[in-house]
Structures are given as C-alpha cells and as structure tokens.
Amino acid sequence: MTFSLDDIEKLAPDQASLNAASKLTNTSKWPKLQQSGGSNLFWGECQGSGSNPYRVVVDGGDHGYKCSCPPRKFPCKHSLALMWMISSGGAEFREAQPPDWVTEWMGRRRKTAPEPDAQAGPQPSAPKNIATAGVPEPASEVDPQAAIQREAAAAKRREKTQAAIAEAMDELEQWVGDQLRTGLNAFIAGATERCRRIAARMVDLKAGALGGRIDEVPSRLMELEGEEKPTAAMIELGKLVIIAKAWRRNPDDPEIRRIVASSETREQVLTDPDATRIRSVWEVVGEQIRTRPDGLVSHSTWLLDVGNDTRRFALLLDFYPASSGRRESVFVQGERFDAEIVYYPAKSPLRAVIASRQAVAEGSAEEWPRNSSGDRTDPLLAYAELQAACPWLASAPILLDAGALSVDQRNRVWWQAAGDNMALPLSNAVPEAALGLELERSFGVWNGARLELLRAETRLGRVSFDG
C-alpha cells in the first residue's frame, strides 16, 4: 500500500488543505526527498514559512504521517503534499537509511492500521475534490475604488500602530527611569512582577516583540551570581533605552522594527532586492530551543560559513506556541550543506533564511575559521565589534580558539583559553568527558556574562554540547 489520490482526498481535512498541498507539490520546495523502500517510508524537508524547514514523514504502509510544522490541521498540507508527490510519481525519492528523526518517530508510534477515514477525524461538512485542488479561482474583477479604500485603511492602521508604539516607548522610558529611582536592588528583587507588567503594556501598545524580550529579563538575571546582578540589570535596562531611542530616530528601520514590533515574513526577506545573500557551505553548529515566559518557544539554529574564512554566522529563528508540542530538531548537528542564505536587513546581519540548499559531498570537512588573527587575540573582540554596530543585541555567536574547560570551587564550569589569559563561565551543563578534552576550537553564544557552549572541535571529532 502506498497512496492513491483517493486516499489523499479522504485523508485531507478539507478542500483548503488540498489546495494548499497542491502548491507544495513542486519539488523545488523540497530540498530533500528520500525513501526507504524496505519499510515503505517516505520523508523529506519542506521549506515552509518558517526559517527552519519542516520535516515530513509518511508511512505508505498504514498512511501514518508526521510533520514538524505547528499542527493546525491533520494531516497538514506538507504531509498531504508529500503523499501527493508519492502518488503522482513525478518526484524522485532517493533511497536512503531512515535518519534518526524518522526512526524516533517510528519508535514512538504503534501501527494500528487505521482506516484513512478514521485517521482523518470527523468528516468535514464541505465536500473535497482533489481534482479541483490547485485550480486557480476565477479572477474577480478589480474594483479600483475598493483598492483605494483598502490602501487607505492600511495606511491608517500603520499610523495607529506607529502612534501606539511611540506611546509604548514613552512608557518604557518612564518605567526604566522609575527602576533607577527605586534602585536596582529593588528591581532585581521584584523583576518578575515588574517586567511582566511592562511587558504586557508593550504587547497592548503593539510592541509585542519588545514585550517578549522584557519578559525574559528576570530569567537571564536568575542565571547569575548575586554580585553580578546589579551590573546585568543595568545593562538590560540600558539596552531598553537604546532600543527606545533607536526606534524614535527611525521607526521604519527594519532591524529596530523587528526588535520592537514584528518581523518580516520569509517571503518579504527573500524578495528584498537589497538583502545580503551569501552562497557558501554552511555547517550546523548549534541549536537552542527555549520556552519563553509568554508561552512561545524560540527555536534557534546556528549556521557557520565554513566555505569562506570570514567567521560569518547565520541564525535561523522560528517561534511557535509551546502548546503545539515539542518540535524536533530540523538539522543534524554537524550537518553541512551548500546553501544560499538571505539575511534579514540589519547593521550586522545575523538572522537569515535559507533560499536554496543542496547536499555537499559526504565526508567534506572544511575547517572552522580561526577567531584570532594577527593582533586580534581577544576572543571577545568580534563580540565587542558586533555590540558597537548593534548595541541592542543581547547575545551573539562567538568562535573561540584553543582552550579547555576548568571547574571552580563552586563546581561551575569555565571555558579557559589556552595560555590562561581569559576565562568565560558557562551557562550550560557539559558531559563529564568534555572536562578532559582540549577544545581546539569552540562555538557558543555569549550574552555578556555567560557562554552557552554549543559545539567544539576535539580529538573525538566535532562534539555537540546541546544534546
């Protein structure tokens, strides 16, 4: 059993899903399509609206399916599209061993051989027809008057949003001033409550992204030792002032707007003619998945340009609701691919999306670039330069040259540079074995006070510290 068009029609929750799936049956949207003939499994990676592609697997044996997209409908359009491509035979699925994420999915499920109808859930009231899916709706006549009205309404909305955000920035600065007047000690003691309140105001006043950032301040302070907290609080509050002033100076700056209000869509970034585009070989060097106080999960995938000696990084960043369940990693740590990366506009571009991607030859292992060169021996110099260009950044990726891990008397782990001229405390736990390895080069995310060590080159090969 694999998939017939009838099966797909029955499985689809509604006609809209079929329509959406039909648009995804273009193989250009699938950088990876593979199958394991022995087990009737097909899987692939579909570039959706997020920065990270979605992982999709379907089982031709019992019509099971799984996709890493935020589940809204079951099966989602990505699963349906994959089934459709199998059914049509138009796409080439390369024979391969199932990767770990497919194996793990198979391990978690029990085949109960459900009938397609049963798995699809309650029958929708609207009829479905796969034959008409994807057929464009007849173009409605353009009403020039309505278009003008829509544009005017949009302009008015923009104006209202700008006014709300301006009010948010005023309130924010007022609030920061209050924290200084009442003292940093009092702010630290009541940070959770205080930040929650102002974060909620930011959300009310259309500055949702900034609200999310403020909501995370207490947890960042909690990670630190008591004596470090006042300085950290000063830095956090200072950055909020910088953001407010930067927004007032240029509310249309896309980078600041992203920090304060909302991000561009993937499509907007891809179609931006001024966006920085880098085609190179990229290595997946780390992943951070965090549940934020506002109920969103932030999923960061760090890529390092190993095709050029530029110490260039790219951050694929997605958000999804924690209630949608745990999302699997999209990439395997250490995976390399040849890709064109398109950066979101920024003074020092970091956040990006993948425009196109293809596999590189197995076994290719370009070296990581060195962090220091010539008189650039300070491992935090690149971080300082990034801060100078983008003072609103809370954390940034850093490459570290040779070092090792040491433990202090309180059992805290530090990355220590070879030669002992610099030590950075870690925020994350590391496997015990890592304490006995020379780290020839390391990658981590430095937030000004703690290093989250994510990956390192060692004599055991490149090892990951993020599980």
């Binding site: 194996t103 198979m106 499920r109 074995a433």
Partner: protein, 474 residues
C-alpha cells in the same frame, strides 16, 4: 577593563543600586550629552554605562580553578556516528546494569567502545570491561596517567581503584600466577569484605593446585562469603572437605524407586514454611557439591544424576548454583551434557552454569535459548551470556523464540509482548549483523516501528560493522 573605567562604572552603579541619580558620579563629557533634562540625562547615562559594561566586562575567574587531566581514549575504536543514537537508545532501555554490561560487551565483540559523550564508566563497578579501565581511572581520579599504567605491585596496590586492581590481578593469573598469589597473600587481608569477595572471582581464572594453600588459609577469613567461596574453589580443584555436609543434608531425602529394578534417587524434602526455605538457601550457599554428595556416600556426578528434577524448582536452582560454584570441571562438563540431553526443559538452569561452560557448550546453550518457549524466558536469561553477536539468521529466524516474539507483536498479545521485550534484547545480543537486520525486517513487517524501544539492541547490532581488530562471537 581599565582600572579607571571600572572605578567609574562602579561609582555610577552604586548610585543606582539603592536608587537615585548617578549624574553626579559621571564625568562631565558624559553628562554634557544628557542635555538639561535630568530624567533624560539619567536614561542616556544608563545607556552609555550599560553598553560600556557590556563591551568591556570580562568575567573574573576565581583564583582556584581545576583542570582535569587529559581524557584517555578507550582501548578500542570509538563507536561510529551512525551507531551512537541506537547505542544511546539501547542503554536507555536497558532495564538493568547487567543488560547495559551486555550491550557494552556486544560493542566490544565487534571491536568498538562507547563514545565518552554517550557513556562513561563508573569506577565503583568491579566488572567493567577492560577497554574502559583507563576512562574509569580518569573518572576516579581525574587523571589519565593512573597507576594502572604500571604493573600492579604490593607498593602501588592502593593506587589502583577496585576494577583496575581486579583486572590487573586477573591478567597476572594468566601471565604470572605465582606473582598473583604472592600479591594476594600480602594485600588480600587488608581489603574490606566487599572487595575481598569480588577479588575471589579471579580464582576462576587458570585454577591450579598452587592456589590450594592460599584458599585453605581463607578458612578463617572474617567474611562468611569469602570462606564459602574459598571452600567452593577448593572443591573445584578436588580439595573439598571429606566430611559430610551436616545440616544441609537434612533437606535432601534418599529414596529407592522401582519395583523390579531398585534404584536410589535423591529428592528435596518438602518444606512447609518460608523460614525453612530461607534456612535451606543459607545452608546451600555455604556448601560444596562434593560435601553434599558425600553425605549420601556418592560422588558429585552420581548425586546429580540421581536427583529428581521434577520435584522442587527452587531446590533445583539451589543445586545447580551449588554445582556451578563448587563442582569440578569434569562434573560440570558431564552435567551440561546431561542437561542438553533433556528436551523441552526450562533453559534457565543452564543459565546458572553458563559461567563454567566451555565456549562450544555456550554456543549450544545459546542455540537452546533460540529454540526455547517464550514463556520460559525472562530477564534471568541474560545472566550467563558470554559470547555476543555470533548467531546466524537461519538459526534465529527459524527458532521457536523469535517466531513467538513475532507472533506476540503481530497479534497484539499484551502478555506475550511483556515476555517478548527482554527476549528481543537477548536475541539482539546473540545475533550476528545479518541476523539482526533480518529480524528487524521481520519485525517491521509485523508492525513494529523501526525505531521502537524494543528493537534498540537489534538496531545497534545492525549498525556495528565488524572492525578488523575484533574477533566475532567473543
């Protein structure tokens, strides 16, 4: 950070810590940026000082930091990347330390050691595979260059952790048994009972008449377990006590059966209370088979042949365990042949003997397992596994055990599946690589997901390509 800037930041920060204005603490060129509005000036000063602190801040490492010694590599190649995920899954699903030990032994049989990021040895484990002893030394002391790099001597005895010491003595039992005995005579008595008991295991290696004086000297050891072990090793060497077993014999009854041909048999006395059972167990633990047989004026093998095996399963287990601990090698060989000759018998008794069986008999026993009934398997079957990853697909797939495992999964038999899970683990440890792949395929056809927890050992097995420096089935 430059001292003057650090002082400046500290002065400004101290004003804000308790609340108030910090403008007075700031240099004039900074406050000039603030303009006339004190509120605005405070915010600008905050932005400046915060950013200065962010860029210039360097964490101050504590005065004392410890760097561990260099991590030694296991004595075998590290597991390839493709096998690491199934290894982690297999170790996670291993219900007992014993199963985890078998998984490591399977790796070793194919010539691999676990990646140190996936598994690290516990130096308190006296039964660590030798390949991990350098790592265990590192975990125990934080140093790779441990004493075990040198030969074990009375002088450096205390520098070895228990697993390394046991391994060193075990090696000496083969290479230089006289030196091993001399060392034990000097250091054995100074160890705690637990360590002495574990050390007694080395007498199973290369036993000889030279061990007799030392073993006899342990008759007065402070530990009853050590005394019993010494008696049992002496018995294996044919130096068991001539006298009868005393109280233990009260739990065995000699009878005569048959009408035309009168035959003597031995059977367990029927017990009525748990207390009696406990006493029997304690007495048997402190006994040798030779002494028990002597109570009835016969030799070890005759006693076993005349034993009535259909009377009391628990007493059978005690007796087989007694044989495993104390019977001579000749008796064990004959006893194993006797057990192999009985069809449809619960294989578990052989399991207890596995530690004494020759490799050829171990293989026969494994074949026996592969053809045993699923209901007779259980976690205990793994106890005697000693050879790993050697059995071929035609044997395993045609065996009763795998067929019943498949049946339990494909029929959704919950009770059968409870038995099938540990059985699959055993099969995964026994199978050679093609057999593991073939079983996985059959299981997939039966509806078991390729990543199912139950198949983790099979999946690991299927990823372990034999290295050139390993010998299969060991």
């Amino acid at each position: 950070m430059a001292e003057d800037q650090a002082s400046l930041l500290a002065a400004i920060e101290s004003r804000w810590i308790t609340g108030g204005s910090a403008l007075e603490a700031a240099p004039a060129e900074w406050t000039n940026l603030a303009g006339d509005d004190p509120g605005e000036g405070e915010l600008r000063l905050l932005a400046l000082t915060g950013q200065l602190a962010q860029i210039m801040f360097r964490p101050k490492p504590p005065a004392t930091m410890t760097r561990r010694g260099e991590l030694p590599m296991p004595a075998l190649p590290i597991l390839p990347d493709a096998a690491r995920a199934p290894f982690r899954a297999a170790m996670k699903s291993a219900g007992t330390n014993a199963i985890a030990g078998h998984i490591l032994a399977l790796l070793e049989s194919r010539g691999y050691a676990a990646h140190p990021f996936d598994w690290m040895p516990d130096p308190r484990n006296a039964h660590l595979p030798d390949a991990y002893l350098p790592l265990a030394q590192w975990v125990a002391s934080g140093e790779a260059q441990g004493a075990q790099d040198a030969a074990l001597t009375a002088e450096n005895w205390d520098d070895f952790f228990p697993a390394a010491r046991r391994a060193a003595v075990a090696t000496m039992r083969v290479s230089n048994p006289e030196a091993a005995l001399l060392l034990l005579a000097q250091k054995f008595g100074g160890e705690p009972a637990e360590v002495r008991t574990a050390l007694m295991e080395v007498f199973a290696i290369n036993p000889s008449a030279a061990d007799v004086p030392f073993l006899e000297s342990l008759a007065t050891d402070r530990s009853g377990k050590v005394q019993a072990a010494a008696r049992q090793y002496l018995a294996r060497l044919g130096r068991g006590p001539a006298e009868a077993s005393g109280d233990a014999a009260e739990f065995v009854e000699a009878k005569t059966t048959g009408i035309l041909k009168r035959t003597q048999v031995f059977e367990p006395v029927k017990l009525k209370t748990a207390g009696q059972m406990e006493r029997r167990k304690a007495l048997f633990a402190d006994l040798t088979l030779e002494a028990l047989a002597a109570s009835f004026s016969c030799d070890e093998l005759s006693f076993l042949r005349m034993w009535q095996w259909d009377k009391d399963a628990e007493c059978n287990t005690l007796l087989i365990d007694l044989a495993a601990r104390s019977a001579t090698d000749a008796t064990i060989d004959a006893f194993a042949a006797m057990l192999f000759g009985v069809k449809d018998r619960d294989p578990r008794p052989l399991n207890l003997l596995a530690g004494r069986l020759k490799d050829a008999d171990i293989r026969r026993w494994h074949v026996f397992i592969a053809d045993t009934d699923l209901t007779m398997t259980g976690e205990t079957l793994d106890q005697g596994l000693r050879l790993y990853g050697w059995m071929s697909a035609d044997r395993l797939l045609s065996g009763k055990l795998f067929k019943q495992v498949l049946g339990a999964f494909s029929e959704g038999d919950a009770r059968g599946q409870a038995w099938a899970v540990p059985a699959l683990g055993i099969l995964g440890l026994l199978a050679d690589r093609p057999a593991a792949e073939a079983m996985l395929e059959k299981l997939r056809d039966a509806g078991i997901g390729i990543g199912a927890r139950e198949t983790s050992i099979l999946r690991l097995n299927s990823q372990l390509v034999q290295t050139t420096n390993s010998s299969p089935g060991t």
